[in-house]
C-alpha cells in the first residue's frame, strides 16, 4: 500500500530561519498524524508546504503517487482548516461549505445534497443561513471543518484548529474532529502545540523542533519512550536532571543507579516522568528528601521535593494520588525511588 503523503528531504528557509531543515516524513492512508512542537518549530510551515501555500526550497512532496511539489494549492486534492477559521464573512455557513463545490463547477443538486450531508455531519443544519459573525467560535470551527471536507479531499490539513477556543469547547470539539475524521476516513495532518491534544487525538505523533522531526510514533510510545532529549522534555512535563557520569554509571543518591548512555562525556541528562517518582516513608530506603510545596490537580497532586545529593540541592517533582499527598505535610521527610527502566538518559 502506498503512502498518502510523502515528504522527501524538504527544506524551507525564511531569511535566516530554517523553518524546515532537510525533513522527510510519510503519512499512511487514513491515519491522523499530529505535528507537535513549540511555536516556531516549523510545524505550520510543514502543513503549508503540503497544502501548496508554501513552496519548498528543496525536496519533493507527494500526495498519493503524484508529485505535487510544483502544483499550486488549488490543484491539490486537499482540504484545510485554518487557525482562525478563515470563514468568508460575506457568505453564510451553508455558502461557505458550498464554496469549494461551486468553484469546481459541481452541479446544483449535487452540491445541495453534499452541503446538507456535511452540515448534518457537523451538526450545523440549524445555523445554515447565518453569517460567520453570528455563530460561536465552536460553530465557526465546525463550519470550517465541513468546508474543508466538502470536495472529498484525499488529505485534510488542520492548523491549530482549537487554539482560539476556550477549554471546555476545545475538549468537546477535539473528540468531534476525531469522530468525523474516522467516519470519513480521510488522511489527516493536524498541527498543534498542545501535547494533551496531540496524545488524545492522533494515530501517530511527530514531535518537531528547529525544522526537524525528532520522533514519530504512536502517542503511547512518544509519551513512554521518548527517543530524543527534546521529545522527552517537550512531552510529559518530565524532571530534567543534569548528572555526572562516574565509572560508566549515572546515579541520583540512593534514588537510582543506571548505566550511562553511549556517547556520554562526563555528564548525562536524566529525564523522569513525575508519576515515576515513587515515594516511601523515611525508613523505606532510597534517597531522603523533603516536601517543599505542592500543586493540587484534582485526582492527583504534584509535590515539589528537595533532596541533597553530594552536597547539591536537587529539585524533583513527583505526581501522586491526592489522597496520598494529603497525608504528607510540607517539610515532611520522605524517600525517593525511581525504577531504572523509568530513567531516560541522554548524552549532554
Amino acid at each position: 500500500m502506498s503512502t498518502a503523503i510523502s515528504l522527501d528531504r524538504v527544506s524551507r528557509t525564511f531569511g535566516q530561519v530554517r523553518a524546515l531543515d532537510d525533513l522527510s516524513i510519510d503519512v499512511q492512508p487514513g491515519e491522523l498524524l499530529c505535528l507537535l512542537g513549540p511555536s516556531g518549530c516549523g510545524k505550520t510551515t510543514l502543513l503549508r508546504v503540503v497544502a501548496g501555500l508554501e513552496r519548498p526550497d528543496h525536496g519533493t512532496v507527494r500526495i498519493g503517487a503524484v508529485d505535487v511539489t510544483g502544483v499550486p494549492a488549488r490543484n491539490r486534492p486537499i482540504g484545510m482548516v485554518f487557525q482562525s477559521y478563515a470563514l468568508f464573512p460575506n457568505l453564510t455557513v451553508a455558502e461557505n461549505v458550498r464554496f469549494p463545490l461551486d468553484v469546481r463547477g459541481v452541479s446544483r443538486t449535487e452540491a445541495d445534497e453534499r452541503v446538507a450531508e456535511l452540515l448534518d455531519l457537523v451538526q450545523l443544519t440549524s445555523q445554515a443561513g447565518r453569517y460567520p459573525h453570528q455563530v460561536s467560535g465552536g460553530q465557526a470551527q465546525r463550519c470550517a471543518l465541513a468546508r474543508a471536507l466538502a470536495p472529498r479531499p484525499e488529505v485534510l490539513l488542520l492548523d491549530e484548529p482549537l487554539s482560539a477556543l476556550d477549554v471546555i469547547v476545545r475538549a468537546a470539539l477535539r473528540d468531534e474532529i476525531r469522530q468525523v475524521q474516522q467516519s470519513v476516513g480521510t488522511t489527516t495532518v493536524y498541527v498543534t502545540h498542545d501535547q494533551s491534544e496531540a496524545l488524545a487525538i492522533a494515530d501517530r505523533v511527530a514531535v518537531m523542533n528547529h525544522g526537524r522531526i525528532e520522533q514519530v510514533d504512536r502517542p503511547e510510545e512518544v509519551y513512554r519512550d521518548p527517543t530524543s532529549l527534546f521529545s522527552a522534555t517537550f512531552v510529559g512535563g518530565r524532571n530534567r536532571l543534569d548528572l555526572p557520569v562516574h565509572g560508566g554509571r549515572v546515579s541520583l543518591g540512593a534514588a537510582f543507579d543506571v548505566a550511562a548512555p553511549a556517547g556520554a562525556n562526563g555528564r548525562a541528562m536524566a529525564l523522569i516522568a513525575p508519576e515515576d517518582v515513587v515515594l516511601g516513608g523515611p525508613t523505606d530506603g532510597g534517597q531522603p528528601a523533603i516536601v517543599s510545596s505542592r500543586t493540587f490537580h484534582g485526582a492527583t497532586t504534584r509535590l515539589a521535593l528537595l533532596a541533597e545529593v553530594d552536597g547539591r540541592q536537587i529539585k524533583l517533582t513527583a505526581e501522586v494520588p491526592s489522597r496520598v499527598a494529603t497525608e504528607l505535610s510540607n517539610d515532611a521527610e520522605v524517600t525517593v525511588h525511581v525504577a531504572p527502566e523509568h530513567v531516560r538518559l541522554f548524552p549532554v
Binding site: 525564511f14 497544502a51 501548496g52 501555500l53 508554501e54 513552496r55 499550486p72 494549492a73 488549488r74 490543484n75 491539490r76 486537499i78 482540504g79 484545510m80 485554518f82 482562525s84 478563515a86 470563514l87 468568508f88 464573512p89 460575506n90 457568505l91 464554496f99 469549494p100 461551486d102 468553484v103 469546481r104 453569517y131 460567520p132 459573525h133 453570528q134 468546508r147 474543508a148 466538502a150 470536495p151 490539513l157
Partner: protein
C-alpha cells in the same frame, strides 16, 4: 447644569472654536439660501438653477467629478491593495509620499502641470524633440484639470481605502486557493464583494472632493469669462470677486449646491461603510489579526513583477512633475529641445534674495506651525476627555470632523466670511480670523490621528492603571498618555501642517492680503504673456515639497507604515 458642563470640560475650547468657525457659519449660510428679507423663499434657488451659466458650471463640475472619481477608483483600488500588502518599510515610504501629494497638492500641482504639459512643458518639449507633434491640453481645459486633480485625488483615494484593505485577510485568499478557487474566483466571490462598499464610498468622496477643488482650478483656468471650463467653484469665486456686497449672498446660495452634494455624498458614504461592516457585526475587525502573516510570508510566484511594475509606474508618474520642476529651477533658458540649454544655480540664489518669495515662505511656515500647535493643544485634551470621561464628546467631535472632511474649503471660507460680516466685521481680512479658519478645517486630521492612537494604545486602561498607581491627572497625561500616542500626534500634525502650507481657497476668501505661498504662487501663475518668471516658483515649490516629504517620511517611519485612520472606519458610523 454645573455637572452637565463639567462632563464636557476638556473639550469645551475645541467645541467652541468648531462651533463658532464651522458649524454656525455653515448653518447660517444654509438658512440664508432659503430666507431673505421677504421671509422663507425658494427664489434664490430657482433663480440659480434658471441661470444657464450656473447650469453649465454645475454640469461641467459633475462631469469633472465623475471623471476624476472613475480614474481614482480604477488606479487607486489596486494601488491601495498592493500598498496594504507591502512590507512595513516601503509601505511607510509610500504612505509618506501619498500623504504629501494628497494634502499639500494644490497650487504646486497646477504649477507642475504647466511645467510638465504646458506649451514649453518638459513632456511637450521632449516629444517635440523626438519628432512627435504633441499638442498638450491647454491648461484651462477639462483634460488639464482632470489630469492635475488626479495627482491629489488618487493618493487621497488610496489613503481613504487603505484601512479597508485590512479587512481582507490573507487567510481568506489562502482558504480560497485550498478550496480550488482561482485568483479571479476569489476576487469575484469574496474580495470584491467585501471591499465593494468601501470602494464605492471612496469613489463617492473622490467625486465630491473633485467638485469642491478651487485652488488648482483657479490657478490653471483663472476666472476669465473666456475660459472654456466653467466650474461651480470658479463661479463662486468669481461671484465674490465681482461684487463684494451682493456677491457674497449669491455665492452663498451657489455654495449651498455644493453643500447639498457633499452632504448627500457623506450620508451615502456612511451608509456604504455601515454596509461594508455588516459582515463583521458592525465593527471593524482589529487590524492586528489581519496583517501579521503578510509581513513574513511574501507571496510566492508571479504577482511580484506586476506589483513592482505598478509601483515603478506610479513612482515615475508622481516623480515626473517633480523632476520637471527641479530641472526647470536650474535651467538658464529652456524653450526648445529635450533638455535645457544650460544650467545655473542663479535662480536658487535670487529666489532666496527675493523679498516677496522669502516673505511668502515665512508667512506660510509660521501660519502652518501656529495652526498645528493650536490644533494640538485643542484636540489632545478633547479626545482624552472623550475617551476617559464622556463618550458623548466623541459623538459631537465625529460629526464636527465630518464637516471639513466633506465640504469644500471654499464653501467653508465663504460661510466664515458671511458669518464674520454679521457678527464681527472688524475681524474680516485679519490674521486671527484666518488662523481660526485653519484651525477649524485642519482639526479633523489631528482628531482622527489622535483618536486612533489613543484607541490603539488603550488609553482608558492605561489611565486607570496609572490612577491605581497613584498618579495625578497631569502626571497621567504627561508621563503615560502623551508618550504612547507620539506617532499619532506626529502624523496628525504633519497633515495639518501640510494642508495649511498648500491651502488656497480659504485664504483667498478670508484674507487675500496675507501673502502665503499659495497666494503668491497663484499671483505669479496668472501673470500671462511674456516670460512668466516661473523660476522662483520652481524653487519654492520644490523646497516646500522636499521639506514636507522629509517630514512625512520621518513621521511614517514613526508610525511604522500603518495607515492613520482617514475617517474611513468611522467605527460607530
Amino acid at each position: 447644569m454645573g455637572r452637565a458642563l463639567s462632563g464636557w470640560l476638556g473639550a469645551l475650547l475645541l467645541l467652541a472654536v468648531v462651533g463658532l468657525f464651522l458649524v454656525a457659519p455653515i448653518a447660517v449660510m444654509l438658512m440664508r439660501s432659503f430666507i431673505t428679507a421677504d421671509g422663507f423663499t425658494l427664489d434664490v434657488w430657482s433663480g440659480l438653477l434658471d441661470s444657464p451659466q450656473v447650469r453649465k458650471a454645475l454640469l461641467t463640475s459633475i462631469a469633472l467629478g465623475a471623471t476624476c472619481a472613475a480614474a481614482s477608483t480604477l488606479i487607486g483600488t489596486p494601488l491601495a491593495w498592493l500598498t496594504s500588502r507591502l512590507a512595513a518599510r516601503p509601505r511607510a515610504a509610500w504612505l509618506g509620499i501619498f500623504n504629501v501629494a494628497a494634502h499639500f497638492g494644490g497650487i504646486g500641482l497646477a504649477f507642475a502641470y504647466v511645467i510638465t504639459f504646458g506649451v514649453f512643458g518638459v513632456v511637450t518639449l521632449l516629444l517635440h524633440g523626438v519628432g512627435i507633434d504633441f499638442q498638450p491640453p491647454a491648461r484651462d481645459s477639462f483634460a488639464a484639470l482632470a489630469i492635475t486633480y488626479e495627482y491629489a485625488n488618487v493618493p487621497l483615494f488610496v489613503l481613504l481605502l487603505l484601512p479597508a484593505m485590512g479587512i481582507v485577510r490573507d487567510e481568506w485568499s489562502e482558504a480560497a486557493q485550498v478550496a480550488s478557487a482561482t485568483r479571479w474566483q476569489f476576487w469575484r466571490r469574496i474580495g470584491l464583494p467585501l471591499l465593494a462598499p468601501f470602494i464605492a464610498g471612496g469613489a463617492l468622496l473622490s467625486f465630491t472632493w473633485a467638485i469642491g477643488i478651487y485652488g488648482i482650478a483657479y490657478a490653471l483656468a483663472g476666472t476669465s469669462p473666456a475660459a472654456p471650463t466653467r466650474l461651480l467653484t470658479l463661479q463662486i469665486g468669481q461671484t465674490i470677486a465681482d461684487d463684494a456686497v451682493t456677491g457674497t449672498a449669491r455665492a452663498g446660495a451657489l455654495s449651498v449646491l455644493l453643500i447639498a452634494l457633499a452632504l448627500a455624498a457623506l450620508a451615502t458614504y456612511r451608509l456604504m461603510v455601515r454596509r461594508g461592516l455588516r459582515w463583521f457585526g458592525g465593527h471593524a475587525p482589529s487590524e492586528a489579526s489581519t496583517t501579521s502573516a503578510s509581513a513574513i510570508r511574501r507571496p510566492s510566484g508571479g504577482g511580484n513583477w506586476l506589483r513592482r511594475g505598478l509601483f515603478v509606474a506610479v513612482g515615475s508618474l508622481l516623480g515626473l512633475p517633480l523632476a520637471a520642476i527641479g530641472l526647470y529651477s536650474v535651467a538658464t533658458r529652456w524653450a526648445t529641445g529635450v533638455l535645457p540649454e544650460g544650467y545655473t544655480l542663479n535662480t536658487w540664489l535670487t529666489t532666496w534674495a527675493d523679498d516677496r518669495a522669502v516673505q511668502a515662505v515665512l508667512t506660510s511656515l509660521s501660519l502652518s506651525t501656529l495652526t498645528t500647535l493650536v490644533v494640538l493643544v485643542l484636540v489632545v485634551p478633547a479626545v482624552y476627555w472623550a475617551r476617559t470621561v464622556n463618550p458623548r464628546v466623541r459623538a459631537a467631535l465625529e460629526i464636527a470632523a465630518a464637516i471639513p472632511f466633506a465640504l469644500p474649503f471654499l464653501v467653508i471660507g465663504l460661510a466664515m466670511l458671511q458669518f464674520s460680516g454679521m457678527v464681527a466685521p472688524g475681524l474680516q481680512g485679519t490674521y486671527p480670523l484666518l488662523l481660526a479658519g485653519y484651525v477649524a478645517i485642519t482639526f479633523p486630521f489631528v482628531y482622527w490621528a489622535v483618536d486612533g492612537a489613543m484607541a490603539a494604545a488603550g488609553v482608558e486602561r492605561l489611565s486607570q492603571a496609572a490612577e491605581a498607581c497613584g498618579a495625578r491627572r497631569r502626571q497621567i497625561i504627561l508621563r503615560v498618555v502623551l508618550p504612547n500616542i507620539r506617532a499619532g500626534l506626529a502624523s496628525g500634525a504633519l497633515l495639518a501642517f501640510a494642508t495649511v502650507m498648500g491651502e488656497y481657497a480659504l485664504v483667498s476668501v478670508l484674507a487675500s492680503s496675507i501673502q502665503t505661498i499659495p497666494v503668491w504662487s497663484v499671483h505669479l501663475l496668472l501673470q500671462r504673456g511674456g516670460d512668466p518668471g516661473y523660476a522662483p516658483l520652481a524653487v519654492v515649490t520644490l523646497s516646500v515639497f522636499s521639506l514636507l516629504l522629509v517630514l512625512a517620511l520621518v513621521v511614517s517611519r514613526l508610525t511604522r507604515g500603518r495607515a492613520v485612520r482617514e475617517a474611513a472606519f468611522v467605527e460607530d458610523a
